[in-house]
């Protein structure tokens, strides 16, 4: 665990200067918020692993078995990636960054915590994971409804997608990985296209049609894919996740997740 913690800290340290590149006060504020949240999460991880080592005598990552320790480390990792109810930092931080840095934050930064999450997946509390997942999907959907700033929109979409990823973790971690990969692909597409068009608000997207019609079509398709519409690829993880959930006799959870996908779809559609 010590090495994992060190890796996470170095990761945070490295990205802080990248984020503060723009000497805009909003960028500095975003950097500070990010640093605080990530440091808190890292400290909690260290605390949880130490507690586990003290009570169980084990420093191994996937042998973490004390219930309090697992809960703490799950919550800490959730804070790191921005799952509800620890998501409050994500929209503001993402808004303060440039589009490229935002891309790195949404995709690359998620890989490290997810590696840890996948490794501890056997010992986690199912109720906690389900709560985190459903809340994230709902918060991601509702939060994004009133947004006009594209980066905040993508932040809420990230929260919703992370919710979907977490909820299947307890049943089939392979699906979590699949969802993560597809999400990274789609979000990278979105961020890069937005960077090409240099637009950060919905109003400026509306003028994009005359500039680059092909790119606008691509953006539209990838937005619909993020929303999870068949027959686009974005539907596949949602379908498989719902299938796993129903196989485990959780149809109500499945329905709630599906309905919250509708919420997200609404703001993608704008």
């Amino acid at each position: 665990w010590i090495l994992a913690w060190m890796g996470l800290e170095i990761n945070t340290m490295a990205i802080i200067p990248l984020m503060a590149q723009q000497h805009h006060p909003r960028a500095t504020e975003a950097t500070t918020k990010y640093f605080l949240t990530q440091a808190t999460a890292a400290a909690m991880i260290l605390f949880a692993s130490t507690m586990n080592a003290w009570t169980m005598g084990d420093w191994n990552i996937n042998q973490i078995s004390h219930p309090l320790a697992t809960t703490t480390v799950t919550l800490a990792l959730a804070l790191k990636i921005g799952l509800a109810p620890m998501h409050f930092w994500l929209p503001e931080v993402l808004q303060g960054l440039s589009l490229t840095t935002g891309l790195v934050l949404s995709t690359w930064q998620k890989l490290a915590p997810f590696a840890l999450i996948l490794q501890i997946s056997q010992n986690t509390n199912p109720a906690l994971l389900t709560t985190l997942g459903v809340m994230s999907a709902l918060v991601g959907g509702w939060g994004g409804l009133n947004q006009t700033q594209l980066r905040k929109l993508l932040a809420y979409s990230s929260i919703a997608h992370l919710g979907w990823m977490i909820i299947i973790l307890q049943f089939m971690p392979a699906l979590t990985l699949l969802n993560l990969t597809i999400y990274i692909t789609m979000t990278s597409t979105m961020f890069l296209s937005l960077k090409i068009m240099a637009s950060t608000k919905i109003n400026s997207l509306a003028l994009a049609w005359p500039k680059t019609p092909t790119l606008t079509t691509l953006i539209m398709l990838s937005l619909l894919s993020l929303g999870g519409l068949p027959p686009l690829t974005g539907f596949m993880p949602k379908w498989l996740i719902l299938q796993e959930l129903t196989k485990q006799d959780l149809p109500i959870t499945a329905t709630i997740m599906a309905m919250s996908a509708l919420l997200s779809l609404f703001f993608y559609l704008r």
């Binding site: 519409l229 027959p231 539907f235 196989k247 149809p251």
Partner: protein, 460 residues
């Protein structure tokens, strides 16, 4: 099945590679060839009812008439769109045709699917090209709102369907239609099972549309361009009916009690939407509400699950598809000339466009179910089976037939007879293309009078 799918997909390179002046001609010709090829499906030789099967697609007497209808409509859609698309740049015209072709492909795969999940995916997939057609090429500013209504109503109904289908797959091990028709009836007693039943049906009822959840339909029809309206009215509504017919195979015996509220909604909807039609001022909206009314009758016929009910539903679906599409084309000819859909502004057309008046006459007579046209066959089958299910339904179905006759005649008289307003005297005469369009819509209706067995489907 591949014989039809691959030429349809190849239409997409055709539209993008043909030189500018030949695009419309070649696409219409190729889609017409595909439509004629699809007529070969009408010959049923297999005993089990499923023929022309591949690993995931097959046709049977239930899906074949709808498939032929879909293939028949593509050349008609392309013909109808020629006029209003021509001022746009050529690449946009090509993307419009490409969207229509994509929609066609998804529809063929949906009607031919044997796995219910594949049907579901194609069902959802048809939403995307339709949404793009409505929002991008629609006529007024409300089209964005219409598109949103359309998408969300349909999706809100179909996501529970996905969960219900996945639960079925868990319990039965397969979702292939070939196998499900032979499973023994399931024992469904608890509240959870009742919710599952509703989940299965809700998507199709929204798509049909059923009276309570029909709000998306008038909006979508009014805002859509002509090809969008045609395909919406003719085929997409029938997707709902087809899906319902397939799904009800596995839903017995709960359906006996649980279908009551939906049947009542459907019957009440026939009367209500018919009455709304009598007071409409917008021509397209009138035809849209008439669609809701007819599909209410279809929903009633399917929900009571009798052989005659199913037969009547299929016949009415096909006949209504052709006639509704014809009416939308007629309304579009008016719109292209006067750029208004208000009934009062396009009166007295018989003086100016007499041959069009003939087509208006035939289409309206078909809409009000004149014998011996197949509309009447379908309506009569459904009304009799509803009557045998409960004698009280004759009140609403009889009243509904009367009101349908009322508004169809109203539509005819308003547009054709009466004093001609002065501003319409300088309208363009009817194009041959429009006459061809109307003929190709209405001649199959007349021909089906002679051999309705082609449409009767599984129950005879």
């Amino acid at each position: 099945m591949l014989k039809i799918l691959i030429p349809t997909l190849m239409l997409i390179p055709t539209t993008w590679l043909t030189p500018k002046s030949w695009v419309w001609t070649t696409t219409t010709a190729q889609s017409l060839a595909i439509a004629l090829l699809s007529l070969t499906w009408l010959k049923w030789t297999s005993e089990t009812g499923w023929s022309t099967s591949g690993p995931y697609m097959a046709t049977d007497p239930l899906s074949t008439p709808l498939l032929v209808l879909t293939c028949w409509l593509l050349p008609l859609m392309i013909l109808a769109s020629q006029n209003h698309i021509s001022p746009e740049p050529i690449n946009r015209q090509r993307s419009y045709i490409t969207l229509l072709i994509l929609l066609q492909t998804f529809l063929i795969m949906a009607f031919g699917a044997t796995e219910i999940i594949m049907f579901y995916i194609m069902f959802e997939a048809t939403l995307i090209p339709t949404l793009i057609i409505i929002t991008r090429w629609g006529n007024q500013t409300e089209r964005l709102n219409a598109g949103t209504y359309f998408l969300f109503y349909t999706l809100a109904g179909s996501l529970p369907l996905l969960v219900a289908l996945l639960m079925t797959q868990k319990d039965m091990g397969t979702l292939s239609m070939l196998i499900i028709q032979h499973t023994k009836p399931t024992n469904l007693l608890s509240w959870g099972d009742k919710i599952w039943w509703v989940g299965c049906l809700l998507a199709f009822l929204v798509k049909m549309p059923l009276y309570g959840v029909h709000l998306w339909l008038p909006k979508a029809h009014v805002e859509a361009p002509i090809a969008g309206s045609m395909v919406l009215a003719a085929v997409l509504l029938k997707l709902g009916g087809y899906g319902m017919m397939r799904i009800t195979i596995m839903l017995d015996p709960l359906t006996k009690e649980l279908a009551y509220p939906f049947i009542i909604l459907a019957l009440w909807g026939i009367i209500m939407t018919g009455s709304i039609c009598l007071r409409q001022t917008d021509l397209k909206s009138l035809i849209a509400y008439s669609s809701v009314s007819h599909m209410g009758l279809v929903a009633g016929g399917i929900l009571i699950q009798t052989p005659w009910g199913f037969t009547g539903a299929i016949i009415l679906m096909i006949a209504h598809g052709l006639v509704s599409s014809a009416l939308f084309c007629l309304a579009n000819t008016n719109y292209e000339r006067t750029h208004s859909r208000t009934l009062l502004l396009t009166r007295g057309l018989q003086m100016i466009l007499p041959l069009m008046a003939t087509w208006w006459f035939i289409a309206n007579l078909a809409n009000l179910a004149l014998p011996p046209l197949p509309n009447l066959m379908g309506e009569l089958a459904i009304i009799t089976s509803l009557f045998s299910w409960s004698p009280w339904t004759i009140v609403s179905t009889g009243l509904g037939t009367l009101i349908t006759a009322g508004y169809s005649l109203y539509m005819f008289l308003m547009t054709q007879r009466g004093p001609t307003p002065l501003h319409t005297i300088s309208l363009h005469p009817s194009h041959t293309r429009e006459h061809l369009l109307m003929a190709m819509h209405l001649i199959p209706v007349l021909l089906l009078v002679l051999k309705p067995e082609l449409m009767w489907g599984v129950c005879h």
